[in-house]
């Protein structure tokens, strides 16, 4: 196994240790995930800027609905739920952004290939 594999378990143990302690003991004092909420909102803005509304509307909607649910959980002081939802928003929004970028790049590539085909025909016509 590589070095990376050997390094990871310690980090996993540490974060799992904290998270498990919270989950298993049902500890009430989970801090409000304020930073996570900001990161999640930024991820949604990034997805919109990447063209998510047009090219990945379904995935963007999922992220936005979870963001609203996270806001409600924050208001209810259900910080564990807010924390989980905020984390999910980050991956959902990132996926929406990448899907939009991929769709846009594919559209550009298709258009250029069409142009190339038309130019090729023009060259052949002129060569005759």
């Amino acid at each position: 196994m590589n070095k990376f594999y050997h390094l990871r378990p310690n980090q996993i143990m540490r974060s799992i240790g904290v998270a498990s302690a919270i989950i298993l003991t049902g500890c009430a004092n989970i801090p409000a995930p304020k930073e996570q909420m900001i990161v999640s909102k930024t991820a949604i803005s990034d997805a919109i800027n990447a063209g998510g509304s047009e090219f990945a509307p379904r995935q963007l909607k999922i992220a936005q609905e979870k963001m609203n649910a996270a806001e409600r959980a924050m208001a209810d002081q259900d910080y564990l739920l807010a924390w989980q939802l905020a984390e999910q928003v980050q991956v959902d929004a990132r996926l929406a952004a990448l899907s939009a970028l991929a769709a846009k790049a594919q559209k550009t590539a298709d258009k250029l290939q069409e142009d190339n085909h038309a130019l090729q025909q023009e060259i052949e016509r002129n060569a005759q």
Binding site: L24, L95, L98, A102, A105, Q106, T108
Partner: protein, 149 residues
């Protein structure tokens, strides 16, 4: 003595097997399958290795939480992150592939435009030469007709 040995032996068993003997959690199995798909795709391993490494990290976290008997909700959450991160790795590879395709198509188009222009100029020159040639022939015909009325 027998009982005292039970826990260490069980622990060794879990470490060695990676808790493989335990019943599978459906969300964990789904995340594992999605991750395996991404990991065996050469486009993903070559174009989205960092994204894939994060998926691996989440998957290990989820696996560990499951082995540690964390709540289903917590395991499902980590498995969801792993699954989505594997999809992120796949989508990153798709995006980069499309970008490379678009870049190479743009280079080809610029070249094709130059070639098309050259071909159009050449065709125009040929048409002009043909016209000149026809005009010359006509003049000769007239001249010949003049000599031999």
């Amino acid at each position: 003595m027998k009982n005292n040995l039970c826990f260490p032996i069980a622990l060794i068993g879990v470490i060695v097997s990676g808790c493989a003997s335990m019943p599978q959690n459906p969300s964990l199995a789904e995340a594992q399958s999605r991750y395996d798909n991404a990991r065996t795709n050469p486009m993903v391993t070559s174009l989205a290795a960092p994204e894939l490494a994060i998926a691996d990290y989440y998957l290990k976290k989820a696996d560990h939480a499951f082995c540690e008997h964390a709540s289903d909700d917590f395991v499902d959450h980590l498995a969801y992150l792993a699954k989505q991160q594997a999809a992120i790795a796949e989508q990153t590879a798709t995006w980069k592939t499309a970008e490379l395709l678009a870049n190479s198509a743009a280079i080809k188009r610029n070249l094709a435009r130059r070639l098309a222009k050259k071909a159009a100029d050449e065709a125009a020159r040929r048409r002009m030469l043909n016209k000149q040639h026809s005009a010359d022939l006509h003049t000769i015909e007239l001249a010949v007709a003049g000599v031999n009325p």
